[in-house]
Amino acid sequence: MFADLHDELRAVARDLLTARAPDWGLLAASGWTGLEVPESLGGAGATFAETAVIAREMGRAATRSPYLGAVVLGVGTLLLLEPGPVRDDLLRQAAVGEAVPVVVLPVAADFRVGVTSASPASFVPDAAEATDLLLLTRDEDGQPAVVALPAGSAAASVIAQPVVDETRRLATVTVDESALAGAPALRFAGDPGDAVRRLGDRAAVAIACDSLGLMEAMLDATVAYAKVRHQFGKPIGSFQAVQHACADMQVQVSVGRELVSSAVTAVASGDPGAWVAAPMAKSHVTAAAVDVVGKAMQLHGGIGYTWESGIHAYLKRAALNRSLFGSPAEHRRRLAARYA
């Protein structure tokens, strides 16, 4: 049943994401910004598993969109908070595309809480396009909590950070604690430390989904190209060297699908196994994607190195994904802590 639903969602997404930078209103009208928002607040009441389908398709199309910052992470953060007027309002507006709530958190694997003037948050996805900023901070008891600020608030400065990958928008966010004093903290439902961990897993797995989409797109493109490009009077796809490189790409994609599928299921169901499945998916799939996209560029030959072919955009995005929210080595450190 879910498989059918996901296939349908995937097919619609593939149609819609042909534009490099789809209109936010269109995404909202398709129900994507409110996928996980409860039905009582105007959303679809779906789970992370459905958000993950969109994330993967956005990778496949190398889509430029604040979906990661606003929906995967912004809405994802709001859903982890105790219900209340501020949270509910933001979710309601996010579902219809009026709000673009972006969470501000350090993009490392450890999810160190607390953005301060002394330590600004750098490389925050989509912060410059936010209507609202969700600052991950600590309440008066020292527990992780969230402060919501409208974009343009004097308490937070957002400066765009250009990066080579033009399909992502990152920013540096600096916070003025004095202007922040007195802002009401929104509390996490349940154990705040656990909520922050789950948020970190969401971020890591969403990026792994994106990288899987990049890999799938590049395998398809390479196979299609190898069937039509002729050299020495034959399609290059009939040469063993090319065939075997494509086979290796296929193996990486198959392996990536398994790791992503396990991690998505664990995160969506709140399974504690996500603590292991998420770093496995993030570390392996984002690294494999760089390798697969690199092979795609190689097998396309000279044309693959041109700006026109667009393969460079996939390679840059794959490389950025590998570094966002913790490097492969950082994620493997989390896994290895269990061996001692």
Binding site: L219, V223, A226, K227, K234, P235, G237, S238, F239, Q240, V242, Q243, H244, C246, A247, D248, Q250, V251, S254, V255, G256, E258, L259, S261, S262, A277, P279, M280, S283, H284, A329, H331, R332, R333, L335, A336, Y339, A340
Partner: protein, 387 residues
């Protein structure tokens, strides 16, 4: 508790009381006769529990749902049970061939015998027909009520102990090479059959050459149509790969990874960031392999398996095994070179790292080498033009 969880408990309890504690030590350096006796004993134990042929149809003593088989293999691996090595071809390849293409008489003659411990070998490859199996030259000539066979087979695992052999021979030399091959059941006690063991890179001799000189095979031992043997072989070659790969993946994920961690601990490398990083990468890849195998098993069950799925798994498993055993060897250092024997009846990862590493080529070369698997993935899986 779900049925599957109850079954897991049942198998786990059975393993606790049946897997002999010291079998690894006893099997290390054991003479051939002891290995054979131990294999037959363990097979009889599994048979008594109803775990020997779970993948066969119910009428032949199997009928276990795929999900339960997966649990069975995962529990056997978790309890570090001995592997069935000697019976492998009989239980899997011979049975699959008989069930798919055998006559009622052939099934009735052989399936119960396999369950009683009849050992089988596979006589496919030849000196001039390795990756290009269809180029085989062993000749079968019609003669009265059967065929007279002459030729030479190579890499027949366990042939020295086998009572029977799956045999491919050319019966129409004039036909295109894939249309002139017949599939036979060869009684290894027939006059004219000579078996010579070949010592492999590990120093073991379970591979054999089989020389066939005017061997008479009766018509009743032909499987499928005369000259239709290639098609029978193609249909049954990969048929059992899903579940057998799942068993191997479970073993890699249980004992295999545990040994890798303890090898690092023994070398004082645990906690070292480089060793930890490699370990975590292997744990991740094993997790992916196990889930890939489970998906393929379910794909076979539901008929949704892709044409190259089995090749993806075989290629990935064999190269992962090679990289993992190489790492175990590297991290263990010189002491690994002083381990002169690995336990018989163990998996491909026994903790005797150098021998395991060398033995890993027994996965990347036979059964379709890694190069052949990549070509299959490219041509059948991805639809690239034939080279």
């Amino acid at each position: 508790m779900s049925d599957l969880a109850a079954f897991r408990r049942e198998v786990s309890d059975w393993c606790e009381s049946h897997v002999p504690a010291g079998w690894r030590a006893a099997q290390t350096g054991a003479p051939d006769a002891e290995f054979v006796a131990f294999q037959q004993w363990w097979f009889a134990e599994l048979k008594a529990a109803g775990y020997a042929v779970p993948h066969w149809p119910a009428e032949w003593g199997g009928g276990m749902p795929a999900a339960e088989q997966a649990v069975l293999y995962s529990e056997l691996a978790a309890h570090d049970a001995p592997r069935l090595v000697l019976q492998f071809v009989g239980l899997h390849h011979a049975a699959a061939t008989l069930l798919a293409a055998g006559t009622d008489e052939q099934k009735a003659r052989h399936l119960p015998a396999i369950l009683d411990g009849e050992i089988w070998a596979q006589g496919f490859s030849e000196p001039e027909a390795g990756s290009d199996l269809a180029g085989l030259r062993t000749l079968g000539c019609r003669s009265g009520e059967g065929f007279v066979v002459n030729g030479q087979k190579l890499w027949a695992s366990g042939a020295a102990h086998a009572g029977w052999c799956l045999l491919l021979a050319r019966t129409d030399p004039a036909a295109p090479k894939r249309h002139g091959i017949s599939y036979f059941l060869l009684d290894m006690r027939s006059p004219g059959v000579e078996v010579r063991p070949i010592r492999n890179a590990m120093g073991e001799s379970h591979f054999c050459e089989i020389f066939l000189t005017d061997v008479l095979i009766p018509q009743s031992c032909l499987v499928g149509p005369e000259n239709g043997g290639w098609q029978v072989a193609q249909a049954t070659l990969g048929a059992e790969r899903g579940m057998t790969m799942l068993e191997l993946a479970e073993r890699l994920g249980n004992a295999g990874f545990r040994w890798l961690v303890s090898a690092c601990a023994a070398a004082g490398a645990l906690g070292d960031s480089l060793a930890d990083d490699r370990l975590a990468a292997f744990e991740t890849e094993i997790a992916a392999l196990r889930s890939l195998c489970a998906r393929i098993v379910m794909g076979h069950e539901s008929g949704t398996a892709g044409p190259a799925d089995a090749s993806v798994v075989k290629l990935y498993y064999s190269e992962l095994l090679q990289r993992m055993t190489d790492f175990g060897l590297e991290v263990s250092g010189l002491p690994a070179h002083a381990v002169l024997r690995k336990p018989a009846s163990s998996g491909w990862e026994s903790g005797a790292w150098l021998l395991d590493f060398i033995g890993s080529w027994e996965w990347t070369i036979p059964g379709g080498s890694s190069e052949i698997q990549r070509t299959i993935i490219a041509e059948r899986g991805l639809g690239l033009p034939r080279g």
